[in-house]
């Protein structure tokens, strides 16, 4: 039921996007244009499936990153996620307003604001992660597992990421 709703949302997005990339234009036959449109589609999907949880992709990214390293400061989050520090201020403000995180002064360097995820923040992350996982499964479900693997690796190469950072 929640799954059905998600599927409907994703199909609507794909349909909408497909119109915007009709074969009327030669651009649709270039890899570059397709990659841009796919990125937009994935972002739109993320926004829509996260909406019911009350957070946006950026908040999700912050919470997700903090779930692995809980000692990151605003500055470190900014550089890790490619978000400008002044934008990060508003982001953390919003997370604080919603009770999902709070700022704590670092004892060793009082300039730094460590961002601490609250239990409520952890709960919303769990829900959001499930929604994202389900959406990803659904969106990429039209691909073969070989295609998905190549997509993952090729994107990593394009972004200059180390291949398989954590083996086995």
């Amino acid at each position: 039921m929640s799954a059905t709703f998600t599927a409907a949302v994703i199909n609507a997005i794909r349909k909408e996007l497909a119109v915007g990339i009709s074969e009327q234009t030669p651009l649709s036959q270039t890899i570059g244009y397709r990659l841009i449109k796919v990125g937009e589609m994935v972002m739109e999907t993320a926004e829509q499936v996260l909406a019911p949880t009350g957070i946006k992709p950026r908040h999700f990214n912050v919470l997700s990153t903090l779930s692995v390293d809980a000692t990151l400061s605003q500055r470190e989050l900014s550089t890790a996620l490619g978000i400008d520090p002044n934008v990060m201020v508003d982001l953390i403000d919003e997370l604080e307003r919603q009770g999902f995180a709070r700022r704590e002064r670092s004892p060793v360097d009082r300039r730094r604001h460590i961002v601490v995820v609250t239990p409520k923040g952890k709960a919303v992350l769990t829900k959001a992660q499930a929604a994202v996982n389900e959406a990803e499964e659904r969106v990429l479900g039209v691909l073969t597992s070989d295609q998905r693997q190549v997509l993952f690796e090729a994107a990593g190469v394009l972004l200059g990421l180390a291949p398989v950072p954590r083996a086995g």
Copy 2:
């Protein structure tokens, strides 16, 4: 020389993007996040390699689309490219100001503005196309041809495009 400059630009973009997607975050291990970042990288690359020609990706898209069907109206361009009609107004305004295109009333339906590409517009499209081709070759050059093929097809599937619209 122009080629060297392009390579430097692209490497700079990849480096910048790579920072924004460091392995500090578990997001970098998801296909979705990678696809979003790849799309952003491709878009940034397009903007930078087109800059010397005086046009932006959207102007390029319009000119490119018109080069295949020269009878399109603003409305048709809007839907084909997924750009809002009110945005298309400014876009065509800019192309007119630069002497790359002009509006002509359709004789059969005077509401429609057919967008006509001028010789100057065709010239800039040729230059822009060359710049885009070279950039694409350079950016995707780090991939194997198998990877590129899968990327192209998988992106097409994700966007709901017909496979191989023009065979042979």
